[in-house]
Structures are given as structure tokens and as C-alpha cells.
Symmetry: C2
Subunit: 287 residues, 2 copies
């Protein structure tokens, strides 16, 4: 396809949309909380119309959870290893010629995995030269994605429920009162990372015990718990001695960066939005 279009990264809780000009550069952008969970069933066409009213009456390409079973319509999961060309060949037109949803990515072996949206970022990062064709990428969030790129293809990936588990503990658990403080990558966080190698279920309870016994300042509990979870996540990956290309905003990026360094890896910051735009632009031009 040629010419301007609207590119949408439609996540579970957030949504980011751009108008891409005829030359391929972004001309307008918006970011809001209209992720798929906030759109009622049957409400996606109206959402798309509202996006067009604000950003321009153009064809629209939606990556991410809009193509999930909680989204506009369920699209396929393409198997890894995966290239941009395969994604471009699998448009799902929910409004013929007007609005297409992209497929997701999956692994169907002994360790089943699914992904919706991050594959565009990962493949786009390589396409734009932001990361080398053989690279380990880390995309933290509610579900942290670890992606291995090989010869420019998305070779394999792993998903860790790190962010969601921290949110569950902070919002609903007996630890909740202790976890309200903001988290910084300081000594309490690194202490959590250091002991996160084994027995996560007991280490988390120790955060509460330390507070009750007065052994740790209340404001350090959240940082320690975050260090335990992010440390367990990073510690289960093969980061030692490697560049880890980190696609994350400042708060999570700093925490994952510190944990990756503590485990002997080298965090390398990559602009996640630039990677997404490179990926979806390439898909549009290939389709």
C-alpha cells in the first residue's frame, strides 16, 4: 500500500495512534487510555470513526489487542520465526479497504506463547537499524516480553507476568499497605534483585515480615518487592555478557536496566515508539 494512513497501537489498557504522512513520517499523534478493556463489545467501529474525526479520514492499520478475543475481531497468531512480510500478508479487514487488524505472533511448542503488538516493535526496531539483526530485546510492562531476534527474524520469545503480579500484590494482597510507595532503582530494589534467584513465594512474604518486625523502612518495601519480581524475571533470562535492547519508558526502563546490570547484562535503551512506527510503516508498504 502507498500513501498516508493511520497507525494504531491498541493495547489492553492504553492506545496510541498516529497519522502517517505520504512520505512515511508521523504528522499527528495521540495517546489515551482507550485500550480494548475500556471499549464495550460492538463499540470498536465508533472508536475508529472518532479516531478518524480527530486524525484524518484515512485507511487505518491496528496492531495489538484490537485483534484479540477481547478486541474488535480475533485475528490469527502467526508462528515464529516471523518476518514483517508474513504480517503484511495477513491483514484482517474489519472494514473492507478501510480498517485492518494485524495478526499476533505465537510459539506452539512445549512452552506456548502469544504476543500482540510487540512483534511490530521488535521487527520494526531491526528494520530501522535501531537494534542489530541478532539481538535480545526486553519490552517491560504488565506482561514483560523477551524477544530473541535472529538474522532479522523474530525467532522466539518469552512472556513474564512481572508487572501484573506486582500490581496484584500492590492492589489486592496482604502486602498492599506496604507497597504503595513509588519504586526507584535504589539499594532496597537492588537488595530484592540480589536475593531473587530462588524461593520467590517466601521472599515476598519476608517483605511483610521485615515491615512488621521494624527491620526495614516502610517506604523501602515496595522497592524491595519490585526488585524481587523484576530480579526473578531478568534472572531467568540469558543476559550475562549480552546487550539487552530495552524498549521502555523511564520508570520501568530504569528498573529493568538496573536489574539487567546486576545480572551482568548491558542495557541499551531503544525508542519503542520509533520502533513501532518503523515496523508498521514497513508492513503498510509491503501489503
Amino acid at each position: 500500500m502507498q500513501g498516508p494512513f493511520l497507525a494504531v497501537d491498541w493495547g489492553t489498557t492504553n492506545r496510541r495512534a498516529w497519522r502517517i504522512g505520504a512520505g512515511g513520517a508521523p504528522e499527528a499523534e495521540e495517546w489515551d487510555g482507550r485500550g480494548v478493556l475500556s471499549v464495550e463489545a460492538g463499540g470498536f467501529a465508533a472508536e475508529a470513526a472518532a479516531l478518524r474525526a480527530r486524525l484524518g479520514d484515512l485507511p487505518m492499520l491496528c496492531a495489538g489487542m484490537a485483534g484479540s478475543n477481547r478486541g474488535w475481531a480475533e485475528t490469527a497468531y502467526l508462528s515464529c520465526p516471523l518476518r514483517l512480510e508474513a504480517i503484511a500478508a495477513a491483514f484482517f479487514w474489519v472494514e473492507p479497504g478501510r480498517t485492518a487488524l494485524l495478526p499476533g505472533a505465537a510459539m506452539r511448542g512445549k512452552r506456548p506463547e502469544v504476543m500482540r503488538g510487540e512483534e511490530v516493535q521488535a521487527l520494526g526496531a531491526v528494520a530501522a537499524g535501531l537494534v542489530p539483526p541478532d539481538a535480545l530485546l526486553c519490552l517491560p510492562g504488565t506482561h514483560c516480553k523477551w524477544v530473541e531476534m535472529k538474522h532479522g527474524r523474530l525467532e522466539s520469545f518469552v512472556t513474564a507476568m512481572t508487572g501484573e503480579l506486582f500490581a496484584l500484590l500492590r492492589d489486592h494482597s496482604l502486602l498492599a499497605p506496604a507497597l504503595a510507595a513509588p519504586v526507584a532503582p535504589g539499594p532496597a530494589f537492588l537488595e530484592g534483585v540480589a536475593v531473587s534467584g530462588a524461593d520467590l513465594l517466601a521472599r515476598l512474604f519476608e517483605v511483610r515480615a521485615a515491615s512488621l518486625l521494624g527491620g526495614r523502612a516502610q517506604e523501602e518495601a515496595a522497592a524491595c518487592a519490585s526488585g524481587l519480581l523484576i530480579g526473578a524475571d531478568v534472572g531467568a533470562r540469558d543476559v550475562a555478557g549480552r546487550d539487552v535492547h530495552l524498549l521502555a519508558g523511564p520508570p520501568l526502563g530504569a528498573l529493568y536496566g538496573a536489574a539487567i546490570e546486576a545480572r551482568g547484562g548491558r542495557p541499551v535503551a531503544v525508542d519503542g515508539a520509533a520502533a513501532f512506527l518503523a515496523g508498521i510503516g514497513a508492513i503498510w508498504s509491503m501489503a
Copy 2:
């Protein structure tokens, strides 16, 4: 102390109370959901009066969370190693001569730990001859307690947030729709136990991925997630080749028993109520 009394095991969500006769045997019993979380601040004296109205107007001894910072009054944590005599010497009289709360147990080293109530069961189990004086005890629940007894003393313990984490995932997470089914110690549970040794955060996400990709029957997801959590808990303990004295009711007891066997341990069922009554009876007679 001599003579009849009321023994109360006052937990976070449940409460069990007995009238103990002059000869030391239980004469009446009740079990309800009036754990400390369901009693408003200032409401404990009225709860005790209601218990006396039903079970008898006798002195009352309360173990467990009634002595916590969310209970009637906060009692001390006694350091391990711990004997029944030390507990009997630390009554906290909230109604002088009428109602006493027991202290909790704690470890204050590098791995801080706290416990309220299970120490009475563990020491009572030894006092009654239900377990040997050197033994490993497992008390599953919202927070699973693993207790090492040595020469009849409570030497050390570890707490794992296993049950609470499963409840958080079942009630509040993206896995929730997949985790509603009842859990039995069948093949899906044992599969979870088998792979639980590493990368718990990613293994939990695989439960969701397997459901989305159709690789596992929906009703097996809850059993697999439970196996992952209980397997991670048991796998972090030193159970291989050992008797593990299991103080648990049928559903959790069967799951922990299966996981302990899968890790090379020998589960030995112990009557938790009998252990508690032996412990609190001994404390009463020593005080």
C-alpha cells in the same frame, strides 16, 4: 492454670473455638468465618462475650491473629528457637483474668519471618506425640508455613505466599477466566509441579497462552497454575527423602501431598485440630 477454659484459634479469615473441660478434653466446638478481618476495630470484646454466651462463661485463651496489629491488641513476637513454656509465660491479658492473647513467633535474622497461631499447632503436635521431636512440618493455607522442629523446639520456619498468590490470580488477573475450575491433584497439576523449578513468572503466562492456542483444556488451566505455585513452594524446601508432616484439610492436603511426593518426600498426614488442642492445653496448664 487449672480447670476448664475456652480455646480460640483466631485466624485472618476463619475462627475455631472449643470449650475444654476440666479433664482437658474438648466438650463443644464451633467454626465460623469470624476471622479478625471481619471484626471491626473495637468489636473484639463483644465477639468474646458472644463466644462465652454460646460455649460457656469461662476464661478464654486466643491464639493467632487476634494478637496481631489487625486484631484485638498487638502482642509480642517471641524469637525462635521457641518452646511452649515461653508462650505460656507471655500471656497478654486484654480482659484481666478473663481473656488472654498469645504472642506470635518470629525470626529476626537475614530472612525475617513472623507467625501467629501455627506455632501452637507445631509445638502441640510434638507435645502430643503426633510428630517426632525432630521433624519438618508443612501447614498450607493462604500463607503456607514450613516449620523445622528440633529437640521438640520450634527451631525455624519459612512462609510462602502460595495460597494468596493463587487467589489473586484466580480473582483479579488476566488468568482469572481460566482459573475458575476446581483443582485436583491429577495430570495437569503434576505437569505444573514438574516444570515449576524455574521461571515461575513466565510459566504462569504459558497457562494463558496454552488456553488461547487451544493446547490445553480450559478445565486443566487452574490445576496447572496451582501445580506451578505449589510446586515452586515445595521445590524450595528440603523435602527429598524426608517425612513431611502435613497439617491440612483434604483439598490442600491432597495437593501438597502430591507435590511433596513428586519432589521425593513422604507426606504424613497429621490432625491439625488435635495438634492445636494439645498445644493450647499444654500452654494453659503451664501458665
